[in-house]
Subunit: 426 residues, 2 copies
């Protein structure tokens, strides 16, 4: 791995599904998603690495270092939001490929330590982290981790009625390969917040994720003519939905600033005709806070608000809890490893929380996991103006290669303490 080779690859992948304003549109299991997968497979093939695709479309490139040993997985996701940014996810996969190449070269290099690696290495491109087309998000890694059922996820449908199974088949990525046994996991991602930028630090070591949940809300009214129905006779589902959207926003104001974030990002309207009062609206509210109690208090308040709205507007409104995610604490040993690796490389680092979900949240349930951040300019993400500098990206690849190197040497074996001599040799 050289910085130039990494940057050339990063900017090449950013051209797949590129949008005019500098973003990408590569939703899960679309033709653009297939193109990035073919790029990933070609990268591995040129280096003689075996590739596999599992039954939920996760794509692996295997770097054999220790025949028969389990794998340290490095990765993230190549799918994007509709009109998403070119860094979110893709950076982590491309960084992992280049970090893996560097680790493999070090293992076979002249100054390799006498004690060789104890694990194999694999790079992974998880299926449908974004969840923009198929809900829930973090789908492929959650199936890998056994948190979600594979068959149920294959049956999930997008708004056009296409199932995950059909969409993966259509792009040729509904696989059946054996999943690699996991020994440890590391992922690097843009922060999607402003803390590293504010503190002028290149690396964040993620200590825990926020508590998050969604509410799947259905508003049922009665279809009628916009022109010929008296206002008093209407049961307007969109008018009720507008009140729900407003309350989902206002509930954040009951807590100190930035304690709770919430919003409605998805809404479908039936029949969606300019001259018909809406019969049915379905919408998804997203609630997140570091403190679970804050989310639960906001949820209870919203359920009371929703009952009031239904009553006031003559509607039936139901709300169902969905995609509830507890705080996930990343292991202290992994945080210490990341901090040692950063110090060894001379990179400033701090501990940091993630408000967004990541594939590492799923992996952290089943294997020792290290989650790393690099800075995001203005903290923006899921949009075309998402931006991280080349220098910050290159520092992150070095950091991931160092962490991966330590992991394949067994630094996070759950049953033993980290081996300090590896840090000295690294």
């Amino acid at each position: 791995m050289t910085p130039d080779a990494f940057l050339a690859d990063f900017h090449a992948v950013a051209r797949i599904g590129a949008t005019p304003a500098g973003g990408v549109d590569r939703q899960a299991a679309t033709p653009a998603d297939r193109e990035t997968r073919e790029w990933f497979a070609a990268f591995a093939a040129r280096r003689g690495w075996e590739t596999r695709v599992d039954g939920i479309g996760n794509q692996f490139a295997l770097v054999e270092l220790v025949p028969g040993a389990p794998y340290v997985l490095l990765g993230s996701h190549l799918d994007s939001q509709p009109l998403g940014g070119r860094f979110d996810g893709a950076y982590g996969v491309i960084a992992a490929l280049h970090a893996a190449e560097r680790i493999a070269a070090r293992v076979s290099g002249a100054d390799a330590p006498a004690d060789g690696p104890v694990y194999n290495l694999a790079v992974v491109n998880w299926f449908n982290e974004e969840g923009g087309r198929f809900a829930p998000s973090i789908m492929g890694s959650s199936v890998f981790a056994g948190i979600k059922d594979e068959a149920a996820m294959l049956d999930v449908r997008d708004l056009e009625g296409t199932s995950v199974r059909e969409a993966l088949s259509a792009i040729g990525y509904l696989g059946a390969d054996e999943r690699p046994a996991i020994a440890a996991y590391a992922e690097i991602h843009i922060e999607q917040g402003r803390l590293l930028e504010r503190d002028g630090l290149p690396i964040g070591a993620v200590d825990r994720s926020w508590y998050t949940q969604k509410l799947d809300i259905e508003v049922l009214g009665e279809q009628s003519h916009t022109g010929a129905t008296a206002m008093a006779d209407r049961h307007d589902a969109l008018l009720g939905a507008a009140q729900v959207i407003t309350r989902v926003h206002e509930v954040t104001e009951l807590f100190p600033p930035e304690t709770l974030v919430s919003s409605v990002g998805q809404l479908t309207l039936e029949p969606n005709s300019p001259i018909v009062v809406a019969r049915r609206v379905r919408l998804v509210a997203d609630l997140r806070a570091d403190d679970a109690a804050v989310v639960l208090e906001a949820r209870d308040r919203l359920l009371r608000d929703i009952a009031e709205i239904a009553d006031a507007y003559g509607l039936t409104i139901t709300a169902r809890d969905f995609d509830v995610r507890d705080n996930q604490h990343y292991p202290e040993s992994g945080l210490a490893l990341a901090e040692e690796a950063a110090a060894h490389l001379g990179l400033g680092a701090r501990r940091i929380r993630t408000m967004a979900g990541h594939d590492s949240v799923a992996m952290n349930r089943i294997a020792p996991t290290v989650m790393l951040f690099i800075p995001s300019v203005d903290g923006v993400s899921h949009c075309e103006r998402e931006y991280t500098s080349d220098a910050d990206m290159v520092a992150g690849v070095e950091m991931l290669a160092e962490v991966g190197w330590r992991l394949v040497h067994g630094a996070l074996q759950p049953e033993t303490a980290p081996a300090p001599e590896l840090a000295a040799n690294a």
Copy 2:
């Protein structure tokens, strides 16, 4: 025409595109719309009537009574709203077919008056009256009347990007036949209001239409991550749209009850992902009142509200006037003709206004026009529970046949006074 034959046909057509709750889903230029057109053509063919399809998909069945003369058109539309009712539009076309059959039989019957008809007769199924799939509504009759440009209408696209031209070609109904020259027009339709039901009257003679307009509103924010974006940094287009929807409703409360009706029935959201703050919302507001000044005052108030919302939520919101329709006054001579015909048949009638638009509004611009209503139970329409009794439908067919009879005999020739002897003979 017998009542039984009419009712058998009406209920047969109601099975085309039927929905489980008793409605129909036959949006313009869909396969279900084609099926009703084929039914219409077969009805005409069995009677030896010529059928034509013009360049905007209007379908005509010509009943030749006076070779070379212009035509009295009777008709309405067979398309429906998504999950619409089985009466709106379809009743008027099927009533017109049966009325035409009765008029043709009377003309050639033994007790036909010495002075025969002066006009030919045609039944018309107008293209896309509903406007649910392709805006604006009242499309086919507006092109016929020269109010809308045919080429521009053929380029209109639905939300999936399909043009009117493509959709009509796909169902085989992009015609090129000559349009019949029009002498007069009559249409019968369900009221879509409660007045006839309240007054216990079977027939309404429409004296004028409400003033209506739409606002095409675009709300532009900035796409961002629902989880990782601070509330203060968001520019949430859907939150802004929710405020607009609320204001469009509340503006009606500034006027006496039922003076103004308004609503938002159509909304598209981008990117419509559960974990992305919306970038863009487009919505259509519909404003209607008998008094144009009320609509204009409400519109101005909404434009001020929209500017406030844009400012308060950090959004760019534009609103464009669209589909503005002045009050249309139906001719006094046509109202008198309808009242005489109803009295002749022993049917109670009253004058009435229409809040909804109709194809007759377009025809009234170019030819003497009579617009008739029959009762709607509970006044509901554009929904599956739309309902009118068989007896009311049958009375309406008799009424339309009587009005059509008088029209083909020149009762509404614009240049001459109605011929009183025809009324005596009818």
